[in-house]
Assembly symmetry: C2
Homo-oligomer: 645 residues x 2
């Protein structure tokens, strides 16, 4: 694909991107420096200072704590690209200098093993996250180079990667292992992309190809360590780490969900870059399994907190759910790569679903509080008093000892401009995956095109594109492929070109408008944005007899603040007569959906009867639903996505 640049110009998203830039990034910098009062210290910067010999002390935080600084630097890079900020860049340069000081002569870089277990490097790939941290270093380095043109972090990353490349592989003197937490695989693809060095592509391919081969590396490593582990008990669990089978033989998403989707992301990249058909088929199989059988309506994945893992097909409990923020971010990474492999609307539908619901909902409207777990049903008293639900928090948390999610949100939202379009190598086809207001610049046949997208989403369905041409030609021939969203319930989007209705053909979920564009051409794309009642596949036991409300890409939910409790008493009327109401003052502005419901008549119950002959007494009730991504921003209370029929 051709390198293009898009910049976001969108009221809805600009809010979030500004929040990341103005609040999340500075707040996280304070956190990395242990300066947030009342929060667990991160230790991240201090670990680097100790490793660099600038400070005495002991390593603190998780074994993979370095990755927090790298993820922050990656988010900073994206932010700088869109919004230059010399003060922030100076801080980042300082952090990069510190990283350089912590790097060994031979390129090795990991503060845990440098300060706490020197000599034990590469002895516990199963748990110790060394290659994982290297992967985040690489991602940060690539992003920082792209944003600033500065090579220092990229050189640090390349030196470390070259060491890794010399140590890992199938040669007799090499370690024939791979990381317990996939990440470096996808990072190496990025490093290959920016440097053009085939050895980075090959190293990624080695890690992917080697995974799951027999005899199993983690089993042998565990034996060599005298069967000791850091956290895990007993024999290594190969399914949790997706190395139970060679990746090309995997058919079902299993194990730790973040590890899984990070791996699938790299697999999709490799399938595209190498034309590996078996790998591509594995990606398609795993995609189908994940998104058709193991995905919540919010785009959440991972049904259990034990192991933060996938369970099995159609097991999607709403209340004991995990649906980790990072897992949905990883799903978005993967969807993005699948789109590069093949422009299919389905991939973008899932990407949009996870983005607008699970991921957006994970951050509070103040940008300082985050959900790890994104439940579809919350009973705050159960979260407190039933230990099976302790992991489900009714309010977003300030900062975490294991702080993977907030920096991941930051790096996704600040690079959102990379998720909207794909322009083909010849500049002749522009796929629009997401309807996010933005200016895309690309070149086609010597003509510089600026395509302005303006979108009312998620509140309205009107999208407008305007083409501005510059350069020697005053006309440009290219096809604009516009995604036909999967959430359209009835009808199809109307298309107007320069005010006139036009027909269009649909290919793989995209409306293709193939024409010769003139400067100032305007295209209107009118998406029918209806409120829709949704039912789940009957094999998803948890949603039997239940209905969700969706409007455009937004999944809705009911909250105690609007509907009282228990929410379970409420059901939808046979014809709920849903209506839409814009509330500019509610939760920063949103469209509320209201309708008719029935509530169990609790006044007809006495406390002396836990069970009684069925009477099915209902009283009319009003249902008021808000977008899921805004839940939990008022008083803590019950919340539910699924309503009884």
């Amino acid at each position: 694909m051709r390198i293009t640049s898009a910049s976001i110009q969108d009221t809805f998203w600009q809010n979030y991107i500004d929040l990341v830039r103005q609040t999340v990034i500075p707040y996280q910098w304070e956190a990395l420096n242990d300066r947030i009062e009342g929060a667990e210290p991160s230790h991240a910067i201090r670990n680097f200072r100790i490793a660099a010999g600038l400070e005495e002390g002991e390593f603190g935080g998780w074994i993979f704590q370095d990755s927090d600084l790298y993820k922050w630097l990656e988010a900073v890079s994206y932010s700088l690209r869109n919004h230059p900020d010399s003060d922030l860049e100076t801080i980042a340069d300082g952090a990069i200098d510190l990283i350089g000081q912590a790097q060994h002569e031979n390129g090795y870089l990991n503060t845990y093993f440098t300060t706490k277990e020197p000599g034990k490097q590469w002895t516990n790939l199963y748990e110790a996250h060394e290659l994982y941290c290297a992967g985040h270093l690489i991602e940060a380095a690539v992003a920082y180079y792209r944003a600033t043109g500065k090579r220092k972090l990229l050189d640090i990353a390349c030196r470390f990667t070259d060491l890794i490349a010399s140590m890992f592989g199938t040669e007799p003197n090499q370690i024939r292992g791979y990381c317990g937490h996939q990440e470096i695989e996808l990072a190496l693809i990025k490093l290959y992309g920016i440097t053009g060095e085939e050895r980075y592509l090959n190293l990624s391919r080695y890690f992917i190809d080697e995974r799951g081969s027999k005899p199993n590396y983690f089993m042998e490593e565990w034996e060599r360590r005298g069967r000791t582990t850091i956290w895990a008990q007993g024999t290594p669990n190969l399914e949790v780490y997706q190395c139970h089978l060679p990746v090309r033989e995997q058919t079902v998403a299993v194990g730790h969900s973040v590890r899984a989707v990070y791996m699938y992301t790299a697999m999709a990249d490799l399938a595209r870059l190498t034309g590996d058909v078996k790998l591509r088929e594995a990606c398609e199989r795993l995609w189908a399994n994940t998104t058709l059988k193991q995905m919540y309506i919010t785009g959440g994945i991972g049904a259990t907190h034990l192991g933060e893992a996938f369970t099995f097909d159609y097991d999607l409990p709403n209340d004991t759910v995990y649906a980790e923020t990072c897992a949905s971010i990883g799903l978005i990474f993967w969807a993005r790569r699948m789109l590069q492999l093949e422009a299919k609307g389905d991939y973008a539908d899932v990407m949009e679903r996870a983005l607008y619901n699970n991921v957006l909902g994970s951050m509070s409207t103040d940008g300082k509080h985050f959900f790890y777990v994104n439940p579809l049903e919350v009973w705050p008293e159960a979260s407190m008093k039933n230990p099976d639900k302790h992991h489900v928090k009714p309010v977003r948390q300030k900062w975490f000892g294991c702080s993977c999610c907030p920096p991941n949100v930051a790096r996704l939202l600040s690079s959102l401009n990379d998720y909207i379009y794909d322009v083909s190598d010849d500049g002749k086809t522009v796929h629009t995956h997401l309807y996010i207001g933005s200016d895309l610049r690309f070149e086609t046949a010597g003509c510089m095109v600026t395509l302005k997208q303006r979108s009312e989403l998620p509140w309205g369905g009107r999208v407008e594109f305007t083409a501005s041409l510059s350069g020697k030609a005053d006309r440009a021939a290219f096809a604009l492929a516009l995604r036909v969203p999967g959430w359209i319930q009835s009808g199809s989007p109307a298309l107007k070109v320069n005010g006139e209705i036009q027909n269009y053909r649909v290919e793989s979920g995209y409306a293709v408008i193939d024409r010769v564009w003139s400067d100032g051409d305007t295209l209107e794309w009118l998406l029918p944005l209806e409120t829709m009642l949704v039912e789940a596949h009957p094999l998803i036991r948890a949603n039997a007899g239940k209905t969700a409300i969706q409007r455009g890409p937004l999944v809705y939910c009911v909250e105690e603040a609007d509907c009282g409790v228990p929410l379970a008493m409420l059901s939808l009327a046979e014809d709920p007569k849903l209506s839409e109401h814009p509330h500019p003052d509610l939760l920063g502005g949103c469209v509320v959906v209201e309708g008719e419901g029935i509530a169990i008549d609790i006044s007809a119950w006495s406390e002396i009867q836990p069970y009684r002959p069925r009477q099915k007494q209902g009283v009319p009730a009003r249902i008021k639903a808000i977008p899921y991504f805004l839940w939990g921003n008022r008083q803590p209370g019950e919340m539910s996505v699924w309503l009884r029929d």
Copy 2:
């Protein structure tokens, strides 16, 4: 209360009692002797042999393993009382001799501390179960003495108890503690009952009164142990052990559910024997909380497996449930004592509910397999593949490392004759709590009365009583108080005396028939046994929009074997037109309930849609429900008590 004797003559129950006598007791003896192939060894007998110096080796099993032998002896005692068996008695005598050999000079008796941690006695009341094991020794001793008249085990128990009484109390040289697992409190009441020794009553009262006083004994003990524990981590959890407050101030059932109900049982005994009003009020408060807000429709209690504990009011999830067998047995113990405190139909209703559903369902029809956890909803694949449900087994297990439940079932079922009647001290009132065929013998004003009860329950509603008089008088005046079951949906039981319909008055849930009885008088008590649809209190979120089927005391469920899967696809028709069908060949004979339902039309779904616009397409389906207590006796499959409306 007057000591009376009832012997069961009942086809339905005799099956179970025979199963206990012929299968469970011999099988458990083999298990105690580690002779069950393929099962985890119990170590119980071996531990006693090691403690007695008859064998070399190391203690095995749980720290409270001794109690397994005691509970077995208690079950054997009840069995011998009803069904003398000299071979079994010889085996029991041998076991008792062994117990005697393991007892210390000073009366101390516990094989764990004798063999594994000598010198550490009484240093970890919080976890080590020493007084708990003593309690089970006492219960076995009382039962064996009552059954056989042999004093040996009773003497062993009294010697140990006298040691405990000298060591525990409020005197300066005494340990001011109590057991982490309540049990001895209720056992001491029994010992007082058989010996008449006030010091045993006082010791029980001391344990109950001291519990929850400040400063907390377990906190101090934990500090003395250098903050070490065996299993529990961190600070002692006082709520789990019900010592967060003095018992008279407790209002809500909290913590480990078996510990809780064992304690409440002793509290009810003490309230009755001492006339302690505050204690009685505490019992009544805790009873109301437990049975109105924290009890499953099956009589199960304890909503979470983490801590095997109560959670909070109305939190009764059907699928992640615990509802341990032992907890329902403890609830039956407690109900029995509440009935002795005050004959109220509500207590017997709960007793009957727990007995016919949770407890009876815990044992397989072969008497060799048991449930610990008694779920109300099972999805076998989730039990295997979702770790949040690993504790929920879709099939009964053979024997357990921690084998509390099977011996508890055995001792309850073989003493079931003690749960049917209460005869007042003056012999003038006979309360019938349970409709279980049985012969009750009691004396009133010099007349020996044999009251024969014959009952069709649980399959039919007809109950018949016949009085036989012997002795000097040929007439006897006494009131027969017959419980009016809470499960009667409409109408009231018809009463016939010698074939003629009679009116009666109802007091506290009992129909009182006060008359002068002649030899041969017959009373018919005709309970309207209808199949009933039941709804749960709206605050029980898990059952919102759901209905259960109950017929008489039996809760029903649907199983995959009859209804296919997923069961969640099934809902009851608006009018399900339920009908009853006796199936003499199904699961040992039962009445099946059938009706009309609606199933989601899965044929209208394609796999490529996990979610779609709601269509609510249903197809007619047949519902076939079986008694809950018989679930899981066919191929492993889905099961559900609650059906969608």
